[in-house]
């Protein structure tokens, strides 16, 4: 195995191939606090990419309710259990990654879900039991809590799917870091299904090959955000490009949220893949759970987010989420406006940071009707 640098772990780690970062890396930020679990993203992806034969059970984009929701069943807790308790030390990960913990004869520590594990997405996971004391929901963290976790492929810097394929059928595009399965070369060994800790590759029994989220690359190539981003009702998502921490740029929205404000964090960074979907953690969730999912900085990120309203630049950038179909390569906040720019630094959208308030009388004298206050 080669040695590569993983900035999310703050250290070098072992990986099947030598490090070779793409020219630029596709990345995204999801604000968990805004997700309403409407599943529009799931359906946007489903109708675009996976309505064919053999794809019936696939959700390249899925939204599950944590802590009890899983797709496939127990995808994360099962691997956490296999990896066993590991240690972070001052922002450095002292534990083992799934590459370093691979058993003899394997490339990656992993497991293959059973067919039935994909059969019950979203069943029963929102059920609440127990009482919530009056007022308990005003101060975070909450004693009774849940949140929606929207998941797609992370187009990882060190993909386990790619490392595990004995045929080299999986590749990471040098131009944008998008991870794809070569549908001509794949022989359906399902090694990637076993290896991906996020379980975001799927075996298609009809074609006999494995398939995965393609980051909507035909849209990306035209400077457009993916389907599940464009259609997100909660406006929780933004797609752009991420640099390494030492090359972070103030006017790059992903760099700003991830590196500069350290508000958006990778999902299960301890696995060692340097995943490139970053999450603003939920503000009401107990720290232990946040740290398990997003690493040791998660409680601080949740606290910072609570103060975002007072910060013009941050609240400006957050108000750009879901406001344009175009990839946001750069952004700026000028006065009360947040502006998104494309690759050529041409403005693509301008939004007010604070929406203006209109107060209307309850009786419309022109139409002679009483207005209903419907949102």
């Amino acid at each position: 195995m080669a040695r590569v640098y993983n900035w999310q772990l703050g250290r070098e780690m072992s990986y099947w191939y030598a490090g070779n970062r793409p020219k630029r890396q596709w990345a995204a930020v999801f604000d968990i606090n805004k997700c309403i679990a409407c599943q529009t993203c799931t359906l946007a992806c489903k109708t675009t990419w996976t309505s064919g034969r053999g794809q019936e059970y696939m959700f390249w984009n899925n939204v599950e309710t944590k802590p009890y929701g899983f797709y496939p069943m127990a995808w994360d807790v099962r691997l956490l259990d296999m990896l066993q308790a590991q240690q972070w030390n001052n922002g450095h990960y002292d534990g083992q990654t799934i590459f370093e913990a691979a058993p003899a004869g394997e490339r990656v520590l992993g497991f293959r879900p059973e067919e039935r594990d994909y059969s019950y997405p979203n069943v029963g996971e929102d059920d609440v039991y127990g009482n919530v004391d009056k007022g308990a929901y005003f101060t975070p963290p909450h004693a009774a809590w849940m949140f929606y976790l929207a998941r797609i492929c992370n187009h990882c810097t060190y993909p386990a799917c790619l490392a595990s394929c004995p045929r080299g059928s999986i590749y990471k595009r040098p131009e944008d870091g998008i991870v794809l399965i070569d549908q001509n070369r794949c022989q359906g060994y399902q090694e990637c299904v076993r290896a991906c800790p996020y379980k975001k590759t799927f075996f298609n029994p009809s074609t006999g090959t494995s398939e995965k989220c393609i980051a909507c690359y035909p849209k990306i190539e035209q400077g457009l955000q993916p389907q599940c981003f464009e259609n997100c009702i909660g406006k929780i998502r933004v797609q752009g490009w991420i640099n390494t921490p030492e090359q972070a740029q103030e006017d790059n929205p992903i760099d700003y949220l991830v590196h500069i404000r350290k508000l958006a964090l990778p999902l299960y960074p301890q696995y060692g893949l340097e995943p490139n979907v970053y999450y603003i953690p939920p503000i009401h969730t107990p720290n232990e759970f946040l740290i398990q999912l997003f690493g040791p900085r998660a409680p601080e990120a949740a606290r910072e987010y609570l103060k975002a309203r007072e910060d013009r630049k941050l609240s400006g950038l957050l108000s750009l989420l879901g406001c344009t179909t175009k990839t946001i390569s750069y952004f700026a906040v000028k006065g009360d406006k947040a502006i998104a720019y494309d690759d050529q630094r041409q403005p693509t959208v301008e939004v007010p940071i604070t929406e203006p308030t209109f107060i209307r009388p309850d009786f419309d004298s022109v139409r002679e009707v009483i207005r209903q206050n419907t949102p």
């Binding site: 053999g54 490339r107 399902q190 075996f203």
Partner: protein, 296 residues
């Protein structure tokens, strides 16, 4: 007393007859090499239960774990395989049989198909490439049979065959007005098929490949291969048929030329797939000749 002796003899003959009529007849053992016999009916013997197979010498190969490259096979699976071979002017037919208590004929998430493969060097001589999938610049030729391809060709891998109770509203190609545009859409909604991957749309239950080392298996269009398998009482009986080269001067697969072959087997129930397999080293292989034998 004479009656008793007669009865005893009749009983012995009956037992012998029953034993010899079972699914696994003992044939001539071929020690040290797989000997392919010339026949006029090579094509007919693609049926794994063709009577002709009983006359052919059998070589019993011992298989071992693929434990060289990751992912490796951790637990031993198919330990032995019997191989017989015949050829005519156009075809080489191999009949493989091996014990497998589970019949795995589909491939779905986390379930794998039973399979077998035969491998030959592509060069004449004893300086053969590595039997472990060949080497850079030293290719090997492989023909693999998979139970799932056979199932697929018989229509058994459709969603409705796999999941008879599935409720499916509609697949996009069903909206097509005519069969040509439907065919186009079927391909469009099956990216692997559209990309020309034979896994998606096998035209035979066996496929020919070349390989130059682990992970380099590549289908060859030019080499015609066929496969036919049947599982009976805890045993697979499979024929793998490949077309012999027309101009055979440089091919090791020609009568009288001593060469080698190797075998591999996958037990789907045990999770065997890809490099997780049982395999043999090179086994001497000879297609019989009326003329003097060429040495490797």
């Amino acid at each position: 007393m004479r009656k008793l002796i007669l009865l005893f003899v009749v009983a012995c003959v009956a037992i012998l007859l029953i034993v010899s009529c079972g699914p696994r007849k003992e044939s001539l053992k071929s020690a040290g090499q797989v000997l392919a016999k010339r026949t006029e009916q090579g094509q007919q013997m693609t049926n794994p239960f063709d009577k002709g197979w009983e006359q052919m010498p059998v070589y019993s190969a011992q298989l071992k774990l693929q434990d060289i490259t990751e992912p490796k096979l951790a637990t031993p699976g198919v330990a032995s395989m019997d191989v017989r071979a015949v050829f005519d002017d156009q075809w080489l037919v191999l009949r493989l049989d091996w014990p497998d208590s589970t019949q795995d004929t589909i491939a779905v998430p986390s379930k794998f198909s039973d399979a077998a493969a035969v491998e030959f060097p592509t060069v004449i001589g004893s300086d053969v490439p590595d039997a472990k999938m060949g080497k850079d610049q030293k290719p090997v030729q492989i023909v693999q049979w998979k139970a799932v391809w056979q199932t697929k060709m018989d229509g058994g891998m459709s969603t409705h065959s796999l999941y008879p109770n599935a409720a499916i509203d509609h697949y996009p190609p069903e909206a097509a007005k005519d069969s040509a545009s439907r065919q186009l859409l079927e391909r469009q909604y099956a990216p692997a098929w559209n990309a020309g991957n034979l896994n998606a749309h096998p035209t035979s239950a066996a496929k020919a490949y070349v390989a130059e080392g682990f992970g380099s298996l590549t289908p060859v269009d030019g080499l015609e291969a066929k496969g036919q398998g049947e599982w009976k009482s805890g045993h697979w009986y499979v024929t793998i048929t490949q077309r012999l080269p027309v101009s055979n001067a440089s091919s090791p697969l020609r009568p009288g030329q001593r060469t080698y072959m190797a075998l591999a087997a996958w037990d789907g129930s045990a999770g065997d797939v890809g490099s997780r397999k049982m395999r043999t080293p090179w086994i001497p292989f000879l297609m019989e000749s009326q003329t003097k034998l060429a040495t490797p």
